[in-house]
Amino acid sequence: MSFIKLLDKLSNEEVLNAKTSRKDSFKKMKNFGKGAALASIPFGLAATSNKTKAATMNMAAAAFQASPTDVLNFALTLEYLERNFYQMGLDTDGLIPEEDRDVFGLIAEHESDHVDFLVAALGDDAIAEPEFDFTGKGLNLDTFSNYATFMALAQGFEDTGVRAYKGQAGALIDNNDLLTYALQIHSIEARHASQVRRMRGEKGWITQNNNTLPDAFNAIYAGEENLTIGGFDLSSVDFSAVGGNDAVTEAFDEPLTMDEVNAIATNFIVTNDN
């Protein structure tokens, strides 16, 4: 069933309003990661099928943007990657010190929940989980034998996640519910990022494009030094009383395009069944 068909099906009055028929409808659907409990997700999605907001003004922009299905599968790829990464880390004896296990345990749980949510939302359109290689393929990273490397990658993945979701907000602007869900995940990734960064001795926020990751991952921070916000060139504004340009770059996180994110993620993806 395509994503759009799913929406159409769920926007059916009967499905929305009658308890029994609703139950029956969901029984016929597959791919709900956590079964019946997740049945409420498509309800939110159903409400969006009647959405006509700004249909005209955004038509031109939409032509250059990914479909909601593409955006959700893009997000799902990143969440698969994160879930897999943290689970492998937690499963590796002696890698994560006892005092940090709760933090990574919680982050792993969130990423796993995000996977379940996106899979449920996508239904049959959900891509299969790719095979991952956290040595970074040719980079030969000692990810699961060196905690410092694991932490550096954790930071990189979280900061990438923040930029990735941010970059797709515009593609969801005509879909209120999906946009809101994406934002609700986006800021959680930022909470994770801040925590991991601070555990590594960095600030929770990103100054310029500074980072302490291996050079191979400069792309994760490329563009964070941007001083043009909302079309305004802030480099000409005197913010010296409040931290100057460094503070300006910290105050605004920057988006990445889907291609830019995929170029980062591809270092860790062996196969993609899609």
Partner: protein, 260 residues
Amino acid sequence: MKKPVVKVEFGDKKGQGNSRRRFIKMSGLAFAGSTLLYACSEDDDFNPGMEPEPEPTPDPDPEAFDLGSGDVGILNYALALEQLEAAFYQMVLDGDYFAGASDEEKTIMTDLRNHEVIHREVLRTALNSVVDEDMVIPELEFDFSEANVDFSDRTSVLNTALLLEDTGVSAYNGAGKLISNADYLLVAGQIVSVEARHASAIADLINPGSTDFARNDVLVDLGGSGVAYDKAQAPSEILEAVVGLGVVQTPFTANNLPTE
């Protein structure tokens, strides 16, 4: 010290659609929400320009500034929140807790003040570039003594900071869908993740090494997948919470904000 006055009125009016009208006044801050008018203002979504359409709103306080409608209304709403945060952190930097704080906490509090001031100024600049000055929310006055914030006490300061940051995250997440212009949506996205970074850091200062950076009591579940999502609250809810703090001394109204 004057006592906060709380006045909440609910009254049904006859008319098409849902016409519940709500008016809340406390400590000089007032806002009114009308679901009927919210419903009407959906038309703004089809207006790509920045001129808010005049709304036939009965103004509960003609003296008060109204945030306006459409994207301008949402930007003014965001500017009000950033003003509150910036004012708070400036008070923190001027207070006794900061004077005696560790270097790490001094750095963090200074960064937060800087970020919020920059957010405020950028939002103000964006608004001033598209509407006349009288449609941009004026400089608000705040009185944190109304909320019993003790700027000499670390716990009081950090707990208030955490509340403001968590509220900011939820506010921007809830406002996203109300924004029509993709450029403004991106700016909101650029700000909200920084607010979330702040919230995470402050929670960790309060309870170091814990999982409070993304603690369950500020998160929500989506569709039974797990408690793994930030909140996304409507402006009416956020403003009610801000009113509840009792620190905003300048009246303003939010009669025409979009709800869809």
